[in-house]
Every structure is written in structure tokens, then in C-alpha cells.
């Protein structure tokens, strides 16, 4: 058993505050803070949203890397393998930072949030065990970037990404899945795959605690939504109008997660009123972060709309505060919850159906209490960061023990995998060059068709 304080290197593309406070990055932050509180020495390597720097954050050293491509956008690789180029840059920057961090710190374990091949160099170095956390979804900033670039259409691009990913995942000592992602277990690692859940601080997000605002004794509804688009403006307006018909003294708080401007709340309120939304309080997502526990405690129930980029915390936070919520069903899957009986997702997400459910929750105290108790119980059993960190630390200890005993065997297996994957890359490269020349060169296309024609003639004459 490892007795000294663990020295952990955490590699994660997303780590707040950069790129926001949701998704896998938030989970990594909750884990890092919990490890730190247990006396571990944690160094984090993460992508920089703006400033590439070595920073300190809540007792952790956080190295922000430059993951963006600075080369010419008209280069052959930039044009034909643009997504692979982004992922490769992300990998290279985290590998480089890891090597630099390893010069000064002798890590006991490397914990990697694996989206591409972030763990590969640490695994090949083989100085200490490498454990991977595999999430159901990539960080929102990375998805956005890849969507923006678009698909090149070359199969080789996907082959590079998938080969690097599987090579990297197969080289780690252990894998923990978070949010129920699909993980390839063909390499016989099935027994080493641990399951965990997104974690949050259940002491902060608790039903008991101070309230954020004075709702003047009125029943409060919190709507967590985007508000800039006409779609959500009119949806919120219609739902609120319908609910207010039944509950005229409703207190309405809107947490708007797509307002980035410095507009004051009074300006935002006035703008919403013009769209037919009379709210008592509107707050932008940055101001609301530290207030969310108090705001949820203030509320009787909630409505969560357009929450894909806020997943899964926009759903977990109210549940942890024991607040029943209605959520927009087609935003993101709910695989991160093993039980979602206490959630309401009207199948036909109509104004009438949503408003009726909210009115029911606002009026029926017995139903609310039942749902609140179930939700809190579920969150404590599955998403409490203390309990999840217990399991992760246990996995670290196991990985360290395993690493000590089976190092040589693992190295051979790892190298065999590298050779196998190398072969598929060579084959793919050959095909890609052919495809690329076919698309780009008229002479090559003529020679391709001539060759085909001659082959057919030869075959015909035989």
C-alpha cells in the first residue's frame, strides 16, 4: 500500500474556469479538489482558453497548454485532415507539458481524461501507472471546434483518430468510465474497467443552507435556459404565461447561460419583458455560478432548457438540492443517470404539457416532497464526490500495486499493440494518399481510369 501523499498528474483537456464550469472538466475539477483535500499533490495539465501559463488554483498547480494550431491553414494536412490536426495538436501540447512536469515531479500516478490520445506518452514512458477516465461526451469546447472544422470526408482522418484513441486506451493500466460511455473491451481489459459517475459537491448543493434571494413568500420557479434565440424566448414566454394563469403570484428567476455581455440585470429584464417574459430576476450564467445552490433552494421546482452544453450538471445540481425539474428531452441523452424516475421529460415537449407539469409540481406538495427525497437519495448514492473519490483513490492504489508486479508483461503487450496499430496506420496512409491524389490531381485521375480500363481490357482478352 502506498503510504506517502500521492503525487498525481491529471491530464484533462477541460478544467474550469477555462471553457466553463460544466461537462467532464467540472468532474475533473471536483476530483482534483477532493484529492487535494485528502493530502494528494495534484498537478493539472489542461488546455488554455486564452492565456497559456502556469497558474495556481485552489492549491493545485494548473499548467495551461496551447492546443490550437498555429501553422498555415492552407497546408495539405490542414486541408485534408483538419480534425485530426486539431486533436494531434491537443495531444502534442499535453504530451509536451507532461514531459516538462515530469522533469520536476516524480509522479505516483497519471490520471488522464481520455478523449484523443492524451495518455500515450505517459504510458510509453512507463514511469508510473496511467489510469484513464473515459467520458460519455467530449468537452463542449472540443465538440464545437471539431463541428466548426467539419468532416474532411477522408476515411484516413477517422482512422488516425480512432487508432490513436484505442492505442492510448489499451496502453493504460486501468480505465474508469464516467457517464456510461461505450468502451471497447476487445483487448481483454474488461475486468479492469471501473464504472463511476459525474461527481459534485453534495455539501454545497444541498437542500439545507442559506437562500440567495428574497422571493417575498411567493412560490418560485427557476428556469435555466438560453434566452438570446427567438426559439427559447418565445418558448419561455408561452410556458410562463400558461403557468402564471394558474399561479398568478409566481416568482420567476431566469438563469440565462447564453448572455455574455455586461448588460445589467435591469436591462436584461426590460428586454425580456418586451418579449413577453415578466420575470422577477434574471442573472447571467457567470454571475450565477456561486449562487446556484442558494437559487435552487429558493425554488419550488425548475425548468431546464437547451442544456446540452451544460450537461450533466444543469440536471445534477437541482436534484442534489432536492428540487424536482422538468427538462427538455431532446438536448442530450440521460445515460449519465442510472435512474431518472424523478425527472420529468414530457415526450411531446409542448407548451401545454410542460406548463401542466410545472403547475402540478408547484401545487402538489406531497408529490414534490416524494420526488425531492428520491432525487437527493439518488444523488448521494451515485454522484457524491467524496464517495466517488474514495473509489478512484482505491483504483489508484490497485493500479500502483498492479504496476509494480506486472510491469514487464505489460510493456511487451503494449509494444505488440503499437506494432498492430502501426500496421493499420500504414495501410490507411496508403489509401489516403491515393484518395487525396484522386481528388486533387487531374493527371492522377486520368491515369487511374486508364489503368482501370487497361486492366479490364487485359482481363477481357484473357
Amino acid at each position: 500500500m502506498h503510504k506517502e501523499p500521492l503525487k498525481v498528474c491529471m491530464i484533462t483537456p477541460h478544467f474550469p474556469p477555462d471553457f466553463g464550469w460544466y461537462g467532464p472538466g467540472r468532474d475533473a475539477m471536483e476530483l482534483a479538489e477532493e484529492l487535494y483535500q485528502r493530502g494528494c499533490q495534484v498537478e493539472v495539465i489542461a488546455c488554455a482558453e486564452k492565456h497559456v501559463a502556469e497558474t495556481v488554483q485552489d492549491g493545485l498547480k494548473v499548467i495551461r497548454t496551447d492546443w490550437r494550431s498555429h501553422g498555415s491553414n492552407s497546408s495539405l494536412v490542414a486541408n485534408s485532415l483538419p480534425q485530426a490536426r486539431v486533436l494531434m495538436n491537443l495531444n502534442l501540447s499535453s504530451w509536451q507539458a507532461f514531459l516538462k512536469a515530469s522533469e520536476t515531479t516524480d509522479f505516483d500516478i497519471v490520471d488522464v481524461a481520455e478523449f484523443s490520445a492524451e495518455s500515450l506518452v505517459a504510458s510509453i514512458m512507463s514511469d508510473c501507472p496511467v489510469v484513464a477516465r473515459v467520458y460519455d461526451n467530449p468537452p463542449a469546447f472540443l465538440s464545437r471546434e471539431l463541428d466548426l472544422i467539419g468532416d474532411s470526408g477522408f476515411k484516413f482522418e477517422k482512422l488516425i483518430s480512432s487508432t490513436l484513441r484505442s492505442l492510448s486506451a489499451n496502453s493504460t493500466t486501468a480505465v474508469t468510465t464516467i457517464g456510461n460511455p461505450k468502451v471497447n473491451t476487445e483487448n481483454g481489459k474488461g475486468e479492469q474497467i471501473h464504472r463511476s459517475n459525474y461527481s459534485l459537491n453534495t455539501a454545497d448543493f444541498s437542500p439545507e443552507g442559506p437562500l440567495a434571494i428574497d422571493t417575498k413568500g411567493r412560490p418560485a420557479l427557476l428556469i435555466h435556459t438560453s434566452i438570446e434565440s427567438d426559439k427559447y424566448k418565445s418558448l419561455v414566454s408561452e410556458i410562463v404565461t400558461a403557468v402564471k394563469k394558474e399561479i398568478p403570484d409566481l416568482w420567476l428567476t431566469i438563469v440565462a447561460h447564453d448572455i455574455y455581455s455586461e448588460s445589467s440585470e435591469s436591462e436584461m429584464k426590460a428586454a425580456l419583458a418586451q418579449s413577453g417574459i415578466q420575470c422577477d430576476m434574471v442573472i447571467n450564467h457567470m454571475m450565477s455560478r456561486l449562487l446556484m445552490p442558494g437559487l435552487w433552494r429558493n425554488s419550488v421546482c425548475g425548468l431546464v432548457l437547451d442544456w446540452k452544453s451544460l450537461a450533466p450538471y444543469a440536471v445534477l445540481e437541482p436534484l442534489s438540492c432536492g428540487k424536482p425539474i422538468v427538462i427538455e428531452s431532446n438536448c442530450s441523452n440521460l445515460d449519465f443517470l442510472s435512474n431518472n424516475e424523478f425527472l420529468h421529460q414530457p415526450a411531446d415537449f409542448t407548451v401545454g404539457a410542460v406548463a401542466a407539469k410545472l403547475v402540478e409540481l408547484l401545487k402538489d406538495e406531497q408529490l414534490r416532497t416524494k420526488l425531492a427525497t428520491e432525487a437527493r437519495k439518488y444523488i448521494l448514492a451515485n454522484h457524491c464526490r467524496k464517495s466517488n473519490a474514495d473509489r478512484i483513490v482505491k483504483n489508484y492504489q490497485d493500479a500502483i500495486e498492479e504496476f509494480k508486479t506486472s510491469r514487464r508483461k505489460q510493456k511487451i503487450e503494449r509494444m505488440q499493440n503499437v506494432i498492430l496499430q502501426g500496421r493499420s496506420i500504414t495501410k490507411g496512409l496508403d489509401q489516403w494518399l491515393y484518395d487525396l491524389l484522386f481528388v486533387r490531381s487531374f493527371r492522377f485521375r486520368v491515369s487511374h481510369w486508364l489503368k482501370k480500363f487497361r486492366n479490364r481490357e487485359t482481363a477481357g482478352s484473357k
Binding site: P16, P17, W21, M29, E33, H51, A53, E54, T55, V56, Q57, D58, G59, L60, K61, V62, P210, L211, A212, I213, D214, E262, S263, S264, E265, S266, E267, N284, M286, M287, R289, L290, L291, G294
Partner: protein, 295 residues
């Protein structure tokens, strides 16, 4: 040395104007709510260097080290500039919307307006000790610090208990209080900022919504008025007082009158007579803090 370091470290635009001439001191001025290309202004030898450092609030100089708090609503973000060394960034996810920063007895104090407290943080971003006011979130709007006779004091918009409880109620509700005991020392201000005490024991507070600087020395009370402005940020040095004057025109929920200044100004006030000797216009809308950095 520090100013040269800032010029070589942070991208900046240099403005030249006869207006900037005649200011003997080298001053750093923080600009909140600015655009990407703004945030910190250095007035030096007749030139204004506008540094691209958005969201600056409190400034503090300890030896040759400059501490800058950056207003980030979702967390604490502090920057430390020291000539010859890499810029240090300290972040705390437990604090937010930092309005002021100061070193006292080798400890780093910050005003976390977003969490309604004054806290000591260590150089790794951990909160070591904290003095919260009553209420939740930004309820009292605690903003600026000073030390008076060994007492740590701060200005706040009032004793409110819920988030933004001060909205529409700042008139006369502002206080200056002892951070550690929560005792109110002075009250009756309207949205006060920047408490300062000079070597003679006279105290100055920017009574921002009161459009002046409140002066209090033993039995003598005075208001140095700056009508049509929002005074915030002050440096008392030798025979002068530098007062930052923000434009009300750019502030939401404020009705601007004829006297309203179109953009921020720096007032140079004679310390004996309290007469305004000069006003220097800056292209930015607001000023948060003013700090002398005579190299």
C-alpha cells in the same frame, strides 16, 4: 523598472496628449468593464499607456510587485507582475468578483464581492481565513479595503441579506465597517468606495452615488464634490489627491444630467484647499482604482 516591465509584458497602445502633461507622479489606473484592448492605464511622463488587461479592479504595490485583481464573476483571478519574473496567476473557485486586493503583514487579502466576504488567500489560491458579512452572494456589495490604526476596514453598499439586496436602495445605506468585528464605523454613504486615511488621521471615502469624496478629520466634516460623476479610486500623495471620476452616462439604471462627464476623468485635487487643480480626460468610461508607482 516595474513600468518598463509592464510595457514589455502586456500589449499596449500609447496615447499622447497635452492633457497628460503636468502630472508629476506616475500613476496606474484600473479600468473595470472595459473592452478587450483596455483595462489598465499607466500615466507616465505625459503619455497614457493603455494596457490590454480587461476587467481590472483593485491594485496594490508591495515593493516592486504589482498585484492586480481581475473582476471575474465566476471565480477569483489575481495577477502578480514582478520585473524579471513570469507573471503569476492565482485562481480560487471558491471566491468571485474580486474588487480589491492588498498585502497586509505578508498576507494576501482580497475582497470577494461575489461571495460577500473578505478573505486571506495563500499564494496557491487556497482560502486560509475569511470574514463574511451577513447575507448570501453579492448582498452587501463589499468593495474596497484599507487599514486604519491597525483595523482592517472596508466599504460596502449596506447591510443587506439577499443577492443584490442593495439594488435601488443604495441611497444613504452605505457603510464603512471593521472587517473582523463587523462593527459599523461610519454610515450614511451612497454606494461608497475607496476608504483612505492619511498620516494625520484624516479619513476620506469616495461617496460614489453622493458624487463626492467625504472627508472627516476629528470634528471637521466636508464633501469634496464632483457633480455628475461617480468618484471611485483615490491616491493621496504628498500635497495632492488623485481622484478617479467615472462617467455616469455608461452606467445602467442611472439618469445622467447636464453635468455628466462623457468619459472617465482623473481629478488632481490640492490637499490643503481641496480645490480641483486639473482634470484629465481618459478615453475609457470608468475608473476603479488609482495607484502611484513612482519608480
Amino acid at each position: 523598472m516595474l513600468t518598463e516591465f509592464l510595457k514589455s509584458t502586456i500589449p499596449c497602445e500609447v496615447l499622447e496628449s497635452t492633457e497628460y502633461e503636468g502630472i508629476d507622479d506616475t500613476l496606474l489606473i484600473s479600468i473595470p468593464n472595459s473592452g478587450e484592448k483596455d483595462g489598465l492605464v499607466l500615466l507616465e511622463k505625459g503619455k497614457a499607456y493603455c494596457f490590454s488587461l480587461p476587467g481590472c479592479s483593485g491594485l496594490w504595490l508591495e515593493g516592486n510587485k504589482l498585484y492586480v485583481s481581475v473582476m471575474s464573476a465566476s471565480c477569483m483571478n489575481l495577477l502578480i507582475y514582478e520585473p524579471g519574473k513570469p507573471v503569476q496567476t492565482i485562481i480560487s473557485s471558491k471566491l468571485g468578483d474580486i474588487h480589491d486586493v492588498r498585502i497586509i503583514d505578508d498576507q494576501l487579502y482580497v475582497v470577494s464581492t461575489g461571495t460577500n466576504e473578505v478573505a486571506i488567500v495563500d499564494m496557491t489560491g487556497r482560502v486560509r481565513e475569511s470574514w463574511p458579512m451577513h447575507g448570501y452572494g453579492d448582498s452587501c456589495h463589499i468593495n474596497c479595503l484599507d487599514v486604519w490604526d491597525g483595523r482592517l476596514v472596508a466599504t460596502a453598499f449596506g447591510k443587506f441579506t439577499t443577492y443584490r439586496g442593495y439594488k435601488g436602495r443604495t441611497q444613504g445605506s452605505g457603510i464603512l465597517y471593521d472587517v473582523k468585528t463587523r462593527e459599523t464605523l461610519f454610515d450614511g454613504y451612497s454606494a461608497p468606495h475607496t476608504p483612505r486615511r492619511d498620516e494625520n488621521g484624516a479619513v476620506y471615502v469616495c461617496d460614489s452615488r453622493g458624487e463626492g469624496v467625504s472627508y472627516h478629520n476629528k470634528d471637521e466634516k466636508k464633501m469634496i464634490s464632483f457633480p455628475g460623476t461617480f468618484p471611485r479610486g483615490m491616491e493621496i500623495i504628498k500635497d495632492k489627491i488623485y481622484v478617479g471620476l467615472s462617467s455616469l452616462r455608461h452606467r445602467a439604471d442611472t439618469k445622467d444630467g447636464d453635468e455628466c462627464i462623457p468619459s472617465a476623468q482623473l481629478a488632481v485635487v490640492d490637499r490643503k484647499t481641496f480645490a480641483t487643480l486639473k482634470r484629465v480626460s481618459l478615453p475609457q468610461a470608468e475608473i476603479y482604482d488609482v495607484l502611484a508607482v513612482n519608480n
